[in-house]
């Protein structure tokens, strides 16, 4: 069976990123020359560390869902990946708005 090595296209903070089919979100970020994509509470930059989903350093927000481990998740076509910190409160507000609308 021949490998299906199409590229998968997505965005990080609105900018285009891509990876081979099956590669992780982290791989796409690394391929886009990013080595860090998260800011800690004290203002430090973090990207990959343990690579296997144990350390939670690589967290991103994907399609509105915060706290996603970039190293573990295959990049899907059209994913909107964001910095995990910036939209957390917006995500929560979205949930409130949904709730109120019900």
């Amino acid at each position: 069976m021949s490998a299906n090595l199409n590229r998968v296209h997505a965005t990080f903070e609105g900018e285009a990123i891509e990876a081979e089919t099956g590669a992780s979100v982290a791989a796409a970020l690394i391929s886009s020359d990013r080595v860090a994509w998260r800011t800690t509470r004290d203002g430090a930059q973090r990207g990959l560390f343990c690579g296997i989903g144990v350390c939670f350093d690589c967290l991103v927000e994907i399609d509105g869902e915060s706290g996603q481990r970039a190293c573990m998740i295959p990049l899907q076509e059209g994913m909107r990946v964001c910095d995990n910190g910036t939209r957390a409160s917006r995500t929560a507000v979205d949930a409130d708005t949904e709730e109120a609308a019900q």
Partner: protein
């Protein structure tokens, strides 16, 4: 090995540490013996509440006022060490019946000087933008405060040691030493500790120390779970409870009781309680309790539905049958004092208990009478009958 001091304190939780602080500062020689490490009991398994909002008129309220005065007054210079925050508490009512109860309750509290401010829906939403859409109204208690309890106990102990107090860790008490009737100290695997005054500050285990002295100290554990979330930007700005919480605190029911208590912390995590159940010292995790706490919290703050819990813990509140602590000298075992049984208010009442006890230990008249908290009250049939 024998060690002698004026005061021997058994237990380095918030009560023991506060007592050590005040006793050492007043010039008494103090030794604290702890079976594990400081704050390893209930103190490290609670939320750090300093509340007036859940108190009714009575001795506990008096002690609360006194103790809060210390947190805010003479201990204020250390407040940054233990993240003291006068954040205020808000009791939220989402049903007409509980709103009416809340209004009655807060009105009566105002009569005995517990300040609260009625909030209508709009005012509530301004203070807590993420509160449930079902909220009808609330009461704001500006004096409700918060500390990080492990830091509070640990720093009070450190300050006590700077005033000469000694700490011996990993030293469980195996027996109390007697001279006739008198309790003159305690034996541990790390040696014998003699003192003119021995203080039982062992929280939910106070009854066991009482047994060693042959006296009834009916402190029982009441288990509570706390959920801890991921770090978030500030979403909850006060301690927020549902109006049902107040009824829970005073209830003697053995079954699981749960009602929401939600608050943010300086670290960014949100602490979520609360539950109460009488299961002895059982540490088996109750998914029922966890689920109820989560449901209650999400009802109060819908955004929490998508917020992740990273861990949970549970603690054993030490409670007495009449929901008042035991504080003071035990005439049934001279030389033995107790300072335990503060139920869910141990952190708030810690400094007050410590200072009053230190005063009594030094032979002074305490700022407040300790008579309502006398340990021997449970042996008095008249008292028991009056408090059925």
């Amino acid at each position: 090995m024998t060690h002698t001091s004026d005061v021997l304190i058994i237990g380095a939780g918030i009560i023991g540490c506060a007592t050590a602080y005040y006793a050492a500062r007043s010039g008494l020689s103090v030794t604290v013996i702890e079976r594990d490490l400081p704050a390893s009991g209930t103190t490290s398994h609670c939320e750090g509440n300093i509340l007036v909002s859940d108190k009714e008129l009575g001795h506990e309220l008096e002690l609360t006022r006194y103790s809060l005065g210390l947190w805010q007054g003479e201990l204020a210079e250390f407040g940054h060490l233990w993240e003291f925050e006068r954040k205020g508490g808000i009791i939220v009512a989402s049903r007409e019946t509980s709103l009416a109860s809340l209004e009655r309750f807060s009105a009566s509290q105002r009569e005995y000087g517990i300040h609260s401010q009625r909030l209508d829906e709009a005012e509530l939403r301004e203070l807590e933008p993420h509160i449930t859409g079902n909220a009808l109204g609330a009461a704001l208690y500006p004096e409700d405060s918060q500390v990080q309890p492990i830091l509070a106990a640990s720093h009070l102990l450190r300050l006590a040691r700077e005033h000469g107090a000694q700490l011996v860790t990993h030293a469980p008490v195996t027996e109390l030493l007697r001279d006739g009737d008198r309790v003159i100290g305690a034996r541990t695997p790390k040696g014998d500790f003699h003192a003119a005054h021995t203080v039982n500050a062992t929280g939910p285990w106070a009854g066991t120390i009482g047994e060693l002295a042959g006296v009834n100290v009916p402190v029982m554990p009441r288990r509570g779970f706390v959920l801890v979330t991921e770090q978030l930007p500030p979403m909850v700005h006060h301690k927020v409870y549902a109006a049902e919480y107040v009824d829970n605190v005073g209830s003697g029911d053995a079954g699981l009781q749960a009602s929401p208590v939600v608050e943010g912390t300086p670290a960014g995590t949100i602490l979520i309680g609360s539950s109460r159940e009488r299961v002895g010292f059982d540490s088996t995790i109750s998914t029922e309790a966890l689920g109820r706490i989560a449901r209650n919290a999400v009802e109060l703050f819908p955004f929490l539905s998508r917020v992740r819990m990273l861990r949970h813990y549970h603690g054993f509140r030490p409670f007495c049958p009449d929901h008042l602590p035991v504080i003071g000298h035990d005439p049934r075992a001279p030389g033995l004092w107790h300072a335990a049984g503060h139920e869910g208010a141990g952190i708030g009442l810690g400094p007050g208990t410590g200072k009053l006890l230190a005063q009594a230990l030094a032979g002074e008249t305490p700022d407040m009478s300790l008579d309502p908290f006398r340990p021997e009250r449970f042996d008095d049939p008249a008292y028991l009958k009056a408090h059925e």
